[in-house]
Amino acid sequence: MQLIECPWCGPREETEFSYGGQAHVPYPEQPGELSDEQWAHYVFYRDNPKGRFAERWNHNTGCRRWFNAIRDTATYRFERVYRLDDPQPSATELAGPRRSTS
């Protein structure tokens, strides 16, 4: 069982968290102006990379807060967790030293 670092609570057991799918998929500004296909892409289509993936997580049996994380889908390693109001870390930032989040 992994430890996941909640940006608010620090490292906690993974069973305290729930997965929220791909991060940075905003609700469309004007859903009514989208074609069925564009809307379907928002509702159903998500990336499925092998390797780094920006994801949403919820510390739902802890502080109940949502946050984002960069996780490697092949190794399951969390490379970075960041608050929802933080920008997505770039590849260059991720290559650098791991930022302390506690």
Binding site: M1, Q2, G20, Q30, P31, V43, W66, Y76, L84, D85
Partner: protein, 956 residues
């Protein structure tokens, strides 16, 4: 039986006490400190059971968990299958018998307790042998928080099995001092009889502690028998030692054939000679220790058979001095015997050819093919293994963060090296943790190691018997042989994972502790590839078997899942309610009177609610307090209908959809103030809806000034339902004008009762005049009893969930999750009226515009009336249609939909159902069919609203 094979002295058993046990119906003596295996061997018993497929006699083949064959079933004090005689600690009154590979689970409930403990440590050391003790001492002295776990009854590891001396004295003295020192460190947790059976991510290790197993029937009942330790370690030091590896040869499975190191353990730890006359077959120097020790203990050693052409000159000299013949360049090419080995067939081996064999009489054959480091935990941590050609073994092949493998688990075989490696591993762990090590930890002085002669890697002796390897057993427990491996190779299998599954080697109780590497080596030989290329199969937890009872711990029976009860639970119990589980809630289903079954009780309760007055405990309904200046903005975005136009003091029904436009929950919304709402959700949807709202508030609209809190358990809720409900509510709350004009439908009013705040709401889930009463859960019983008392003249009837369901179904009110699944829109439910056309957007709106949503053949909620006025359609039944000729279409018969709710109706005086039916609303008036128990029941399709379609009753 007497303990003929017990040595006169020595060993760590308590000779002052004798216990009795029964094996296969025969009584044997033993001592505390014995295992079942050592006590049987002390009485000269080797045979344990017959093998699972071939029925060949099998005995005790090793002294601990690596034994592939000594399987027993415990009968007393409590039935337990598939244990190893070598690991069952002996106690008085033990009753066991040998197992031919399959055991029997107890058919009575296990009354023992099991529990779990969580612990967080800086350093976890697994194994309390020399390397592990050195590691634990190093970490403890530095002030680290340490856990040391070891699977044996006492610390010492290999030191318990030999004659090693440390600091010039028997090693037991150093072990005792180390254990005492560890006990004095407040931050050290030292657990014996504790097996680390699984290593997971981020230093998470599960260990099973056998706390009272060794006490048998005398175990105190209040103490947990076994405990699962859930250890989170920042650093793990694996000091799990090594398993001796046998060599495979024809007829290598007879009782009396065992690992040489095992025989040495039985001698030194338990004071047991495993036989009278031994042949020792080895490929390396370690078995010479067994030969010499057994010789000194009075066992006649007929020969040491050393497969190496040169043998071990140094050790051979010791043997000569002791009068033990040594045959170099020789192997055991077969055995004779029945329930016990009687002779070993010894033959020269040159250039892979077995020469002429001669028979050496013996009653034990001790085998050593080298040592396999116990790399299981390292491998579970996804560590890569490296094949070492000199040792013929797989070793840790890389460094892992947070995990060090030390001692013989890392391939070291000398005592001084293991001690130093344990200290090194712990020091590295401390460095990684930033903990300053204490001054250099002095290690005890071990005798200068004698450089052993190089071992020979020999997996198997060629089969010269003509049996083609069909009696050369690789996995004794699975009766799998060299011939099976040859078949696997011949069938084209190349991966050890495939070979394992084809041959079943390594899939038994012992998970291939002795057979796994042998199978890799022999397969490599058969395929003509290097052993590194065949590799091993994946090591998976658990390292040794763990009972489900231990994993379940206290989470069984009533404690498996939390039970939630309402404030009125005791009242319901006293009233004789029959309960049902709704999620974690216990809810009264109905309140039977004497002689009533459920059907009768529900008909009575329904009639009371429709013609007089009933009362329901609806406290489990989810309640969410939504506060903030933007509360209405949020709810407008989340519900399909308009919430912001709701006036303070009023109530609105609302539907919530996912972005895909499918209904996820429904309920009512009370506007308590301009900036405050109370949301009612379904009982099952309460947590989900709160999560759903939180998700949108946090992730999409953090700018909204709104806060959400669950108040489900703070408010008790009682719908008072029926044409006479106004009389009852008016009587209990005289300050409220309950007339329809002053208190209309879908409004709420606050009042007090003896100073206690109460909220009343005109909400109806039955179509009848109804008042929901909300009160702080502390006062629930008092207010409920007032209502019941005041309603006595009207015959107020408490009713349960079953009646609630019937009443709502008669009105066509769906239960989300019962009458819907994830494919149903509000329009499918006939609730287009609850979908706002004014709002520019809300969650799900865009999906309603999809073409598929306009499809007239979508499944729609309708009512069904069985034409026979008798049949209660089973929920989940399919709905089918006849062809024009009045017959079923040929299979596969198209399914029109299915029955979602089905009840008897007192009001309609017949059964009815709700169903999702393709194009259902257009088929109202049609007759379709529902297969019930082999017959097709004709049913009429109706509107989903079967009672009071005009809504005339809601105002009383």
């Amino acid at each position: 039986m007497t303990s003929t094979f017990r040595t006169p002295e020595g060993g760590r058993v308590d000779r002052s006490t004798t216990v009795e046990f029964t094996f296969d119906g025969q009584t044997f003596p033993g001592h505390p400190g014995d295992t079942l295996a050592s006590a049987l061997l002390a009485s000269g018993r080797h045979a344990i059971a017959s093998s699972v497929k071939l029925g060949r006699p099998r005995g005790i083949a090793a002294a601990w968990a690596e034994d592939p064959s000594g399987l027993v079933q415990i009968e007393e004090p409590f039935p337990e299958p598939m244990l190893l005689a070598s690991t069952v600690e002996l106690y008085d009154g033990l009753v066991a018998h040998g197992l031919p590979g399959q055991g029997r689970l107890a058919d009575v409930p296990d009354s023992a307790r099991y529990d779990a403990m969580h612990v967080h440590v800086d350093v976890l050391v697994v194994g309390a042998g020399p390397a592990g003790l050195a590691a634990a001492l190093t970490a403890a002295r530095a002030g680290a928080r340490v856990a040391l776990v070891d699977e044996h009854s006492e610390a010492g590891g290999s030191l318990l099995s030999g004659t090693d001396r440390l600091d010039g004295a028997p090693a037991a003295g150093w072990v005792a001092a180390a254990v005492a020192e560890l006990a004095a460190h407040p931050e050290v947790l030292h657990l014996q009889r504790t097996t680390a059976f699984g290593l997971y991510d981020d230093g998470f290790v599960l260990a099973l502690q056998r706390r009272t197993d060794h006490l048998g029937g005398a175990a105190p009942r209040h103490e947990a028998r076994q405990r699962v330790w859930r250890i989170r370690a920042r650093q793990v030091v694996v000091a799990t030692g090594a398993h001796e590896r046998p060599v495979v040869f024809p007829d290598n499975d007879r009782p009396g054939i065992m690992l040489a190191g095992g025989a040495r353990t039985f001698l030194h730890r338990y004071g047991v000679r495993v036989g009278s006359e031994a042949v020792v077959f080895t490929t390396n120097d370690s078995a010479y220790d067994a030969a010499l020790d057994l010789h000194r203990a009075g066992v006649r050693v007929a020969a040491v058979v050393d497969a190496r052409p040169e043998g071990s000159p140094l050790r051979a000299e010791e043997c000569r001095a002791a009068g033990i013949p040594v045959r170099t360049g020789s192997v055991v090419a077969g055995t004779s015997g029945g329930d016990r080995i009687t002779a070993a067939l010894v033959a020269p081996l040159a250039d892979g050819e077995v020469g002429r064999a001669d028979e050496l009489a013996c009653d034990v054959l001790l085998v050593s093919g080298g040592w396999n480091p116990a790399v299981h935990l390292f491998s579970q941590a996804r560590g890569r293994l490296r094949y070492d050609e000199v040792l013929g073994a797989f070793l840790p092949g890389e460094r892992l963060d947070g995990l060090a493998v030390v001692g013989s688990a890392a391939g070291l075989l000398d005592l001084a090296g293991c001690l130093a490696d344990g200290r090194r591993g712990a020091s590295a762990a401390l460095t990684a943790l930033g903990i300053a090590p204490a001054a250099e930890v002095r290690l005890p002085t071990a005798p200068e190691p004698v450089v052993p002669a190089a071992p020979l890697v020999l997996w198997r002796v060629p089969d010269a018997s003509g049996a083609e390897g069909s009696t050369s057993f690789v996995d004794l427990q699975r009766d799998a042989t060299v011939a099976d491996l040859a078949r696997a190779a011949g069938a084209g299998l190349r991966s050890m994972e495939h070979v394992k599954r084809f041959t079943t080697i390594g899939t038994a109780h012992d998970q291939g502790k002795t057979s796994g590497v042998l199978a890799s080596g022999i397969t490599a030989e058969l395929l003509g590839v290097p052993v590194q290329d065949t590799g091993t199969t994946t090591f998976r937890p658990p390292y040794t078997p763990v009972a489900f009872a231990a994993l379940a711990g206290r989470d069984r029976g009533r404690l498996f899942d939390p039970e939630r009860v309402t404030a009125l639970h005791d009242w319901h119990v006293a009233a004789g309610a029959v309960f049902e589980d709704v999620g974690q809630w216990k809810r009264p289903r109905y309140y039977p009177r004497a002689g009533e079954d459920m059907a009768a009780a529900v008909l009575r309760e329904c009639a009371a609610a429709r013609s007089g007055v009933g009362i329901l405990d609806g406290s489990t309904l989810g309640k969410i307090d939504v506060q903030g200046p933007d509360a209405a903005v949020l709810l407008d975005r989340m519900y399909t209908n308009l919430i912001s136009s709701l006036k303070v003091g009023s109530v609105r029904y609302g539907v919530m959809c996912g972005v895909d436009g499918m209904v996820i929950d429904d309920g009512t919304v009370l506007r308590l103030a301009e900036d405050r709402f109370l949301l009612l959700t379904t009982t099952g949807g309460a947590a989900k809806v709160l999560d759903w709202l939180e998700e949108w508030v946090q992730t999409e609209w953090p700018e909204l000034r709104v806060h959400l809190a669950s108040v489900t358990e703070q408010w008790s809720t009682f719908p008072v339902v029926g044409p006479r409900s106004r009389d009852v509510v008016g009587a209990v709350f005289p300050d409220v004008d309950v007339s329809n004009e002053a208190f209309p439908f879908m409004t709420w009013r606050d009042t007090t009762l003896d100073g206690v705040p109460v909220r009343l709401a005109r909400i109806s889930f039955s179509g009848e005049l109804a008042f929901e009463v909300y009160v702080n859960a502390w006062y629930a019983v008092a207010v409920w009893e007032r209502l019941v008392e005041a309603g006595a003249p009207q015959g107020i009837t408490p009713y349960g969930t079953e009646t609630m369901h019937v009443l709502r179904a008669e009105k066509g009110y769906p239960i989300i999750g019962q009458d819907t699944d994830g494919t149903v829109t509000p329009h499918d439910l006939g609730m287009a009226w609850a979908v706002s056309k004014k709002k520019p957007d809300f969650v799900g709106k865009r999906s309603f515009a999809r073409v598929e949503n306009q499809n007239p053949l979508r499944k729609q909620l309708v009512g069904l009336l069985p034409v026979d006025r008798q049949t209660v359609l089973p929920e989940g039944s399919q709905v089918v249609d006849f062809l024009a000729d009045g017959r079923l279409p040929p299979p596969p018969v198209p399914m029109l939909g299915h029955v979602t709710s089905s009840y008897r109706s007192a009001e309609l005086a017949r059964p009815f159902a709700l169903a999702l039916v393709k194009g259902g609303r257009a088929r109202i008036g049609d007759t379709v069919h529902v297969p019930v128990g082999g017959t097709l029941v004709p049913v009429e399709v109706t509107s989903s609203v079967l009672v009071d379609p005009e809504g005339a009753r809601r105002d009383g």
